[in-house]
């Protein structure tokens, strides 16, 4: 059992607060750190990886402080987002160097095993600067796995990967989670996190917005008020009819857009009732489109919840 505990951690850079009073435990299994770009995910991962000191609060691995404690790296593997990685080495030399730095008894065997795990043996004797982004990502992964760590931290690991590589990495991470390792990865794409993570932590604007399995996060996201843009043959009559129904909380006549802006509080009922109401009043619907489906607005709602 290996657990990273983040306890009332904040981190600021000058006047900018990147992480704001976050408390969470990351335990065995796959955890997804979900949030829009700039939410503080990387800052949080940097602190878990011991590359950044919290301004206040503590980040510990099974009780041991991570910052300035190089001993913890026996148990942590890190896949950074940045690309810099000794491009003049071959993939094999790079992974073996990582094995040696860990002081493993048989670095050659360990690096062969790690390269096999990420299926990179076929290109292991090529220099890293000839690799595609997906290949680099897999070699980084091999370097993080070489000492078979109990904890694996990955910062945006799926960026720049094609669908096949994405699938491969997901399978691998899922397997590591099933083996009882603590796997944490960050992503700004809900579907990615949903597919892979049994447990999701949502970070928005530096704050810990939500936590739970993906069903709970999904529910939080679909149960929020939805905003719709509606155009019809008689907007004013439709507005009057809709506001009389329990499914809406507010309607605005937008004269610039020549449309209605509808706030639905009962999402399921609204989608069911809207066409019925329109037909009952002999109104034709011309446009019905959700106007706030971006992930950012979903996140914004989660934070205010």
């Amino acid at each position: 059992m290996t657990t990273i505990r983040i306890d009332h951690v904040s981190r600021w850079f000058g006047n900018v607060v990147a992480v704001n009073d976050v408390t969470m435990d990351v335990g065995p299994g796959v955890t997804g750190l979900l949030g829009p770009n700039g939410a503080g995910k990387s800052t949080l991962i940097s602190m878990m990886a011991g590359f950044l000191a919290p301004s206040v609060g503590t980040v510990t691995l099974d009780g041991a402080t991570i910052w300035r404690n190089e001993g913890v790296y026996r148990h942590i593997g890190i896949v950074p987002e940045r690309e810099g990685m000794y491009d003049f080495l071959t993939g094999e030399e790079f992974v073996r160097a990582n094995a040696e730095l860990h002081g493993l008894p048989d670095p050659g065997a360990a690096s062969r095993r790690a390269l096999a795990t990420v299926e990179m043996e076929y290109a292991q004797d090529r220099r890293i600067d000839t690799y595609s982004k997906g290949m680099r990502q897999r070699v980084k992964m091999a370097s993080a796995l070489v000492h078979e760590p109990a904890v694996l931290l990955l910062d945006e690991p799926f960026n720049g990967m094609d669908p096949r590589q994405r699938m491969q990495l997901m399978t691998l991470l899922r397997r590591m989670g099933e083996e009882g390792r603590t796997v944490l990865f960050s992503s700004h794409i809900l579907e990615e996190v949903e597919q892979l993570a049994a447990h999701i932590e949502v970070i928005v604007a530096g704050r810990h917005a939500a936590s739970g399995d993906f069903r709970r996060i999904r529910r939080l996201m679909t149960d929020r008020p939805h905003r719709y843009l509606v155009r019809s043959t008689d907007d004013r009559a439709l507005a009057a009819a809709l506001i009389a129904d329990d499914s809406t909380a507010g309607i605005e006549l937008d004269w610039n857009e020549r449309a209605l802006r509808v706030q639905a509080i009962d999402f399921a009922r609204f989608t069911r009732e809207l066409p019925r109401i329109a037909r009952a009043h002999d109104i034709r619907l011309l446009t019905v489109s959700p106007s706030d489906e971006s992930l950012e607005s979903v996140f914004a709602y989660l934070v205010s919840a």
Binding site: K41, L52, E70, P80, R82, F88, N98, E100
Partner: protein, 240 residues
């Protein structure tokens, strides 16, 4: 205190094609000048001392020191690849000491060795001039490497600051303000040369051997220690 893997990575980064070419330019120039002077039969003690002190010790050694010292760690911090060294159970001072050893070895190879060769080409074993300046370059290499390695951990613009120090402080300010010359690695090196060279040659070092040796030792040890401290708290944040 020494990690062979860190050393290997640092050597390969330092002696990669472009950087190795950069390191080789000045020594090649020195050897070329020495050979030309010798072939034209202009070589005497004064010419040798002027060339080895005015060009080699004053310009070449510090520049090689800048390239090797900052290059031993700066680029890794810049492109983030240092994360692969830092995410290991390796003591930070071990990383720094290893990189210092590599930087010193490279600086010595590209400065002390060419100086020795150039000295022999110019005046052979005469008055121990060749050996004296080679030793001066050797000790100066130590201090420069430590100084510029530290600079590489302190600022992202280590090369610029290194050049400013090497060119402005060591040459210009040193020649304008006599006091500043006491705090010049070049003068410390010259003090070593002064001690070794035969009594017939005067080098006029501004510092005598005792203080020079102490200052070289202090700069090397303190610089290395502080660089280790810097590396312990080196912050690597993501690309947000």
């Amino acid at each position: 205190m020494y990690d062979p893997t860190v050393a290997r990575l640092t050597y390969r980064a330092l002696l990669g094609r472009r950087r190795a070419a950069l390191l080789a330019v000045l020594p090649a120039l020195l050897l070329l000048i020495a050979t030309v002077v010798r072939v034209m039969d202009l070589a005497d003690q004064d010419v040798a001392v002027n060339l080895l002190s005015g060009f080699a010790l004053a310009t070449m050694v510090p520049l090689i020191g800048v390239i090797a010292g900052t290059g031993a760690i700066g680029p890794e911090i810049d492109d983030g690849s240092i994360v692969y060294l830092l995410s290991k159970p390796v003591k930070r001072p071990t990383i720094i000491v290893t990189k210092l050893v590599v930087a010193v070895a490279v600086t010595m190879a590209f400065s002390a060795l060419p100086v020795l060769l150039a000295g022999f080409i110019l005046v052979g074993g005469d008055q121990q001039i060749a050996v004296a300046f080679a030793l001066a370059a050797l000790f100066a290499s130590l201090a420069y490497s430590a100084l510029f390695l530290l600079l590489g951990t302190v600022t992202r613009h280590a090369v610029v600051f290194g050049l400013v120090y090497a060119l402005l402080w060591e040459t210009l300010i040193g020649s304008l303000m006599p006091g500043a010359r006491t705090l010049s690695v070049q003068q410390w090196g010259l003090a070593v040369a002064d001690e070794v060279v035969a009594s017939g040659v005067r080098l006029d070092a501004d510092v005598s051997l005792g203080p020079a040796a102490v200052l070289i030792a202090v700069v090397t040890v303190a610089g290395t220690w502080y660089a280790g401290q810097r590396l312990k708290v080196l912050t690597l944040a993501g690309e947000e």
